[in-house]
Symmetry: C5
Subunit: 114 residues, 5 copies
């Protein structure tokens, strides 16, 4: 999924019948520091999000899950409204590093931080 | 989904039989401010869109939903003709910001604008 | 789908059994003005395309539809050989423009050209 | 799948009901030399990963497999915690090279290294 | 599918149970002239490929087909080991060109080379 801000909506009279009554919102994807990234897109809305809200959305067939059993022809859907999110400040990786070169037996488990 | 302008069509005599009688349109994806973005693509048309029209299309298996039960081998399909769309002018985010660093208990809900 | 030129083929003796007897072609995707764009890829061929031909191909699970009921593990497949395609010369958009800022009732439908 | 570092989490009260009780983590994809690459994303967690850990995640509908039969509307999911990984140092390719130009019968199999 | 070189492997003790006993390889995608392109990724291996070999892999749910009926949560899988591949030298397109502007009846089929 990706974080996004709802920045608008789309009105379409002529459309696939399974989209009838479903809100079509324009989303601006966000990075984890809250800035805009990448292309805007149109998503169906399963949670009642409004313009200006921060949400997370899902891509692919999964976007139509909340509307089952209706087979909604959608490839992006808002599935949650974000209360807040937390990210760790940039820091050196504590997880495992790749080992290169001599391919000895793999024994040493590098303990990633819990 | 993405906004796009229909800019042409494709004629193919030799093709998968399940594509017979289905219109193949050339689309130019659009950003939310109406300018062209990214690669053109070929999409099946489920709503009778013509060259010059602004539409929204869906990517993936969902593109074949409007043709069920025929299993159309398509990965992009026009599912609506756009009447108009509205986007908010660029402005500072009103939604939640990420919190970094000290990971205290999460209590404060930042109210995104409705 | 995308337009592409068939530029080669791949020979693989050791492969998933469901790929046996299926031609593997190397494709160069094309823009709508016929020039090469993006990465080459390997696609299964359902229509008997040869090297040098212009085709359109489908991405995703749909690539295996023409081989049903065999579950071919493919994510790209040639589904048509292009006779020709037509694109409109670049011109100002005639479709609807986004409306920004003041969100009044949506009434005016801008007629896109047929 | 891709390698990633878990860099945070997301809290959402209003969300699709099938996401209830599922942890939503913020991931930073990694290259095979352990450096950050590409956009952060939000993934469901099926293996109990914590912030700071190195994991690999899956994109697409497959992200919901670990939660079957619940139809979780997710397009990215952590499916493993990485103990370590090994990569060969950069070196000239030992596998087959493409052959260009004169298309003679294909006989010579170039033996890629085992 | 895409061509790739196997450049390493990943070890993960904690992982989705359906990945147990399945090899996880690190792949470097290749262009059709054999040079590295794009991000490395982690793929399941259905054909017994080793480090250093040139393979082609499939993205998406199709990656789990070779492991049916097990529902392997994978989005990339090696499905063949490449013996060799052939590509035509760069040359002017012989396939059809797009026709722009005046949209007359489509009659003339441009014969692409066989």
């Amino acid at each position: 999924m990706q974080l996004a801000r709802v920045i608008g909506d789309v009105v379409a009279t002529v459309k696939d019948q399974h989209l009838s009554g479903i809100k079509l919102m324009v989303l601006q994807p966000l990075t984890s520091d809250g800035s805009a990234t990448g292309r805007t897109l149109v998503a169906v809305d399963a949670v009642g999000a409004g313009v200006g809200e921060t949400v997370f959305f899902v891509r692919g067939k999964e976007a139509s899950f909340p509307f089952h059993p209706t087979e909604v022809p959608a490839d992006a859907g808002i599935v949650g409204i974000v209360d807040h999110w937390d990210v760790e400040p940039e820091r050196p990786a504590k997880g495992p590093e790749p080992r290169t070169g001599n391919r000895e037996p793999k024994a040493m488990r590098q303990e990633p931080k819990a």
